[in-house]
Amino acid sequence: MTPELLSALYIFVLAMFLGFAVITKVPPLLHTPLMSGSNAISGVTVLAALLVTGSQQGPLQTILGVIAVALAMTNVVGGYLVTDRMLQMFKKKPGEK
C-alpha cells in the first residue's frame, strides 16, 4: 500500500463522516433539493472525464472520454439548474420574492 493510497483512503473515510454530519441536519422540507443538489455534486466525475478526453491516450479513450464528459456535464448542469428552480419556489409568505 503506497502512502498516496493511504492518504486517499483517509480523505475518503473522513469525507464520508463529514457528509453524515452535515446531511443529517437537512430538514425533510428540503430533501428533494438536497437530492438533486448532491446529485449535481456527484457529476464531479466530469473532472476525470476531462483528463481522460484531453490527454490523447488513444482514439478509444478519447471517444469514451467525450461521452463521459457529455453525460457528466448533463448531470452537473441539469442538477444545479433544476435545484435552483426548485429552491426559488420555497417561500415563507405567499408572493414573497
Binding site: M16, P28, S42, G54
Partner: protein, 464 residues
C-alpha cells in the same frame, strides 16, 4: 510542484469547501438557494482548474462534450415539470454513474495495452466499473418505472434471489480473475455486461411505493462511483465530493426505511406490493361499506371548521392538483379557517416530493409540517382531507400484526373529528393493502379526479 500544479490543487480544495458549505446552507430554506449557487461556483472552479492541467493537450473533443452536456442539462432542467422530478433525479443519477463507468473502461483499455496497473489501481478500476454500471442501468429502470414506461409494480419471477446471487458471484469471480491477470478484454466485457444486468435485476422487483428508497440508494451509488473514479485518476476532489454524496444518499435511504419501519434488506428483496393482496390486512373490508359525500356537503364541513389538515400523497402529484389545493386553502383562509399540511416522509416517489409540489403552488413552507410536528394536532382538527395518500394513513399499521405495513409510523388522520378522503376509486394503494380508514365511522369519501373535486369544492366553499 510547479506553480500550475499548486494552483490546481488549491482550486480543488476551495471547490471541496464550496460543496461542504453549500450543503450546510441547505439546512435552512433561507440560505438554501445561495448554498446551491456556491456549490455550482465550486464546480465551475474545479472544471476550469482541470482544463489547465498539463496532461490535457487537446481541447477540441472536450469542448464538444461540454457543449452537448451543458445544452442537454439546461434543457432538461428547464422543461421538466415539478411532478416529474423523481424521474429527472433518477436519470441524472444514471448519467453520473455512466460517466464514471466510461472512465473506468477508458482506463482499463489504456492499461491493458501496457503491462497492467498496480493492484490498488486494478481494484479501483473494477469497483468504479461495477458501481457505475449498476448505478446506470438501475437508474434507467427506476426512471422508467417512475415515468410509467416500465411496469411500476414489483416484477417477480421464479428463483429470483438465487439468480441474482449467481450473477453477483460471477461478477466477483471475473473481478478476481482480472486482479490476477489484467489484460483480458473479453473477461472485462463480461464484467461490464454482468454489472449492467445486476443493476436491472436489482431494481425491477422494487414496487412504486418503495421508489423513494431506491432513488436515494442510487443517489448514494452515483456518489460512490465518482469517489472510486477519484481513486482511479488519483484526484482528491473526486474522492471528497463523491463520498459526500455517497454519505448523503445513505442517510436519506436510512431515513426512508425508518419512515416505513422496514430494513433496507426488506425493501430490496421482499418485492413489496407485487400482487394486490386485497383483504390481506387481517380484518378485511368484506361486508363494510364506505360513505360517499358530495362536494356541497364537504364544503359546509370545511367552511365552518377551525382547523383543517390536508394530507397529500402521490395521487396529488398524478392529478397535478397542488395548485387547486392551494386555492382551496386560500378560500378557507378567507373564512379564517386554519389550514396545515401534514407530510409523511415517504409520501410521493422521492424524499420531499410533496414539499416541492406545494412550494411550486406557492404554499408558504411554514404551513408544511413533518409527521412528528403535526401528529398530536390531528385530534384538534375538525376536518382532515386525505388527498391521494393511502398506506401512510392506514390505522392497521398500528395494531394489525398480519398487515404488511404493521409497525410503519403513520399520520394520525383517524384522530381528526371528520375525515374526507378524495380518491378516484376504491382500488387499493401501491402496497396493495385495504385501508380501513376508508371504512371508518368518521370518514366520508369524495370520489373523482382530485383536481376536479377540488375545483368543485372551491366553488361550493365560495358560495357557502
Amino acid at each position: 510542484m510547479t506553480a500550475r500544479e499548486i494552483f490546481i490543487a488549491l482550486a480543488y480544495m476551495i471547490a471541496a469547501a464550496c460543496f461542504v458549505v453549500g450543503l450546510i446552507w441547505l439546512q435552512t430554506p433561507k440560505r438554501a438557494r445561495a448554498g446551491n449557487i456556491l456549490s455550482a461556483l465550486g464546480m465551475l472552479l474545479a472544471v476550469i482548474a482541470t482544463l489547465l492541467a498539463k496532461e490535457i493537450v487537446d481541447y477540441s473533443m472536450i469542448v464538444l462534450g461540454i457543449v452537448i452536456g451543458t445544452a442537454a442539462g439546461a434543457w432538461m432542467a428547464r422543461t421538466v415539470p415539478m411532478t416529474g422530478m423523481p424521474q429527472m433525479v433518477g436519470l441524472l443519477n444514471g448519467f453520473g454513474g455512466a460517466a464514471s463507468a466510461l472512465i473506468a473502461a477508458a482506463e482499463y483499455f489504456h492499461y491493458a495495452a501496457g503491462k497492467g496497473p498496480a493492484l490498488d489501481l486494478t481494484i479501483a478500476i473494477l469497483l468504479t466499473m461495477l458501481i457505475g454500471a449498476v448505478t446506470f442501468s438501475g437508474s434507467m429502470i427506476a426512471a422508467g418505472k417512475l415515468q410509467g414506461v416500465v411496469n411500476e409494480r414489483a416484477v417477480t419471477y421464479p428463483f429470483q434471489q438465487p439468480i441474482n446471487l449467481i450473477l453477483a458471484l460471477t461478477i466477483l469471480a471475473t473481478g478476481a480473475y482480472l486482479v490476477i491477470d489484467f489484460a483480458h478484454p473479453w473477461v472485462f466485457g463480461y464484467f461490464i455486461v454482468a454489472s449492467l444486468v445486476l443493476g436491472v435485476l436489482f431494481t425491477i422487483p422494487i414496487g412504486g411505493a418503495d421508489m423513494p428508497v431506491i432513488i436515494c440508494l442510487l443517489n448514494s451509488f452515483s456518489g460512490l462511483a465518482a469517489a472510486m473514479a477519484g481513486f482511479v485518476v488519483k484526484n482528491n476532489a473526486l474522492i471528497i465530493s463523491g463520498s459526500l454524496v455517497g454519505a448523503s444518499g445513505i442517510i436519506l435511504t436510512q431515513i426512508m426505511c425508518w419512515a416505513m419501519n422496514r430494513s433496507i434488506g426488506n425493501v430490496l428483496f421482499s418485492a413489496f406490493g407485487a400482487t394486490v393482496t386485497a383483504g390481506a390486512g387481517g380484518k378485511s373490508a368484506a361486508g363494510k361499506t364506505v360513505k360517499p359525500i358530495q362536494a356541497d356537503e364537504a364544503a359546509i364541513l370545511l367552511a365552518y371548521a377551525q382547523l383543517v389538515i390536508i394530507v397529500p400523497g402521490y395521487g396529488m402529484a398524478v392529478s397535478q392538483a397542488q395548485h387547486a389545493v392551494r386555492q382551496l386553502a386560500d378560500e378557507l383562509g378567507k373564512r379564517s379557517v386554519a389550514v396545515k399540511y401534514a407530510i409523511h416522509p415517504v409520501a410521493g416517489r422521492m424524499p420531499g416530493h410533496m414539499n416541492v409540489l406545494l412550494a411550486e403552488a406557492n404554499v408558504p413552507y411554514d404551513q408544511l409540517y413533518d409527521m412528528d410536528q403535526i401528529n398530536d394536532e390531528f385530534q384538534r382538527a375538525d376536518v382532515a382531507i386525505v388527498l391521494g395518500a393511502n398506506d401512510v394513513v392506514n390505522p392497521a399499521a398500528r395494531y394489525d400484526k398480519s398487515s404488511p405495513i404493521y409497525g410503519m409510523p403513520i399520520l394520525n388522520t383517524d384522530h381528526a373529528k371528520n375525515i374526507i378522503v378524495m380518491k378516484r376509486s376504491m382500488n387499493p394503494g401501491f402496497a396493495g393493502i385495504e385501508n380501513e380508514l376508508f371504512y371508518h365511522d368518521k370518514t366520508r369519501m369524495l370520489f373523482g379526479d382530485a383536481k376536479e373535486s377540488l375545483t368543485k369544492l372551491i366553488n361550493e366553499v365560495k358560495s357557502v
